[in-house]
Symmetry: C2
């Protein structure tokens, strides 16, 4: 567990985060309308969990970088729309005003739309440059996970669950769709770009769901003083049992990772870093 | 000009519109969350101008149908978001309540997001099935036109122009981005899927801009009793001069179309039908 303090890991993490941030900002042209809004929402010192996970399971980082950035743009569009008054009505995000509080609702809606469309343009450009179907297979995983059978479904279920009682399975379904789907797709896309076998893709996919679920449960623990009107693991199980559930899933994840063949050291360290994060 | 009443044209128009509507509804699975919202917003007797234009310039209609539907989904997502209270705040669209009036703002935002993402999934699936770069080249035209250098840019310029004076060129820029871009892309995608030469793609692209501009000016004429706070051709030039400008562009369009080699009879009739439409 001390690996999170391991200097080598911290250096590699900083290097990849830098690579992602440079590429992300390279996609945001100053000449764009909504440039200021997109830059404000995306270039804000976020941890880049999803693109890091994607890069962590494929060897050619530069080749995979456009897909890693597209996923981060998709994640950011979803945050901007989730924060809107009609949705979660949040005032702050990552220690700054939310997009609609800073730029107004119309701009926030359009900035979210622009980021999803930009993700699409980036991925189509990459697929066009590379005459290899694996890029389209990776793209399919990402947009399936972002849509009505994944992230958007999770958001709909989340809104429908407000102020009503839901059962444990319904809560798990919300988390698996709203949070796990895109985290799972990040790993699936990365491993597909790495030319993995179908059986390895399947293993990584199942691992991705567990990582996403643990990630969301940890969020529930962090946020347990907020969102009283929303069902969370803490509101359903209490803090103690939620921590136990979290520790069990994390234990499973580590066992699964240990079983992977090949050089997945950075991936292993990254997952431990994510599970041990303090905020 | 009597071609719009030509029975053969009307039959073919009905046939292709039917083909588009059947395919659109086939993409909307009853099991989807937001199925009711998506179906309500998309399957509402719309004229399907963009998908019809796409199909009108390529010979293999069934092959092009997924792209035609993707463009219609993109068009519909943009309408749902444009109608939101923070944007144009419209109550009715196509003689029924707007999405947010019928289902609430949160659902309207998510339904728009879902339709854009669905368009992306449909196009990636089609590109994956066909191992041919032309599908990705067509996809690139569509998403470039839908994004921050096209439709979204037009919407931003449109919102910025409310209640202020803009000049003739600024108004033209709004129309070219907000409306023409996706209409142009419909024709570009269709002609690319038809394996056209670069020079023909260029001709069709320029034609697409003119058709989109004329289409929007006609809308300005239809809407001249509304949107007093928005700059339109009618508010800027008056109804008489606007009609003259419209007739000049339409005349240009017909001359350009006559110069095209090949069997573009349905395309020619479709453009005349669009320019002569009464609503």
């Amino acid at each position: 567990m001390k690996l999170v303090n391991d200097l080598d890991f911290q250096n590699v993490l900083a290097e990849y985060t830098n690579l992602i941030n440079q590429k992300l900002s390279s996609y945001l042209d100053k000449s764009f309308c909504l440039y200021e809004q997109m830059y404000y929402c995306v270039m804000n010192g976020a941890k880049r969990i999803r693109p890091l996970l994607l890069l962590s399971v494929c060897s050619d980082k530069n080749d995979a970088l456009p897909f890693a950035c597209a996923i981060e743009f998709i994640h950011n569009y979803s945050l901007i729309h989730d924060d809107l008054p009609a949705m979660d009505n949040d005032t702050y995000r990552r220690n700054q005003l939310t997009c609609h509080k800073k730029f107004g609702e119309a701009n926030a809606i359009l900035t979210g739309d622009a980021l999803l469309n930009l993700a699409c343009e980036i991925i189509i450009d990459k697929c066009l440059k590379q005459n290899n179907q694996k890029y389209l297979r990776a793209a399919k995983k990402i947009f399936n996970a972002a849509g009505i059978n994944g992230m958007i479904k999770g958001q709909v279920l989340d809104i429908e669950s407000e102020n009503i009682n839901i059962n444990e399975n319904q809560l798990k379904q919300i988390h698996l769709n709203k949070t796990s789907a895109l985290i799972r797709a990040s790993l699936e896309a990365g491993i597909i770009l790495d030319d993995a076998s179908e059986s390895l893709i399947k293993k990584i996919s199942e691992l991705g769901n567990k990582i996403g679920l643990a990630f969301q449960i940890k969020d529930d623990i962090f946020d347990c003083d907020e969102e009283k009107n929303k069902a969370t693991y803490v509101s359903m199980y209490g803090l103690e049992k939620t921590s136990a559930i979290f520790n069990n899933i994390v234990h499973e994840i580590y066992l699964d990772i240990e079983k992977l063949n090949g050089d997945y050291n950075f991936f292993k360290d990254l997952v431990k870093y994510i599970m041990n994060r303090k905020n």
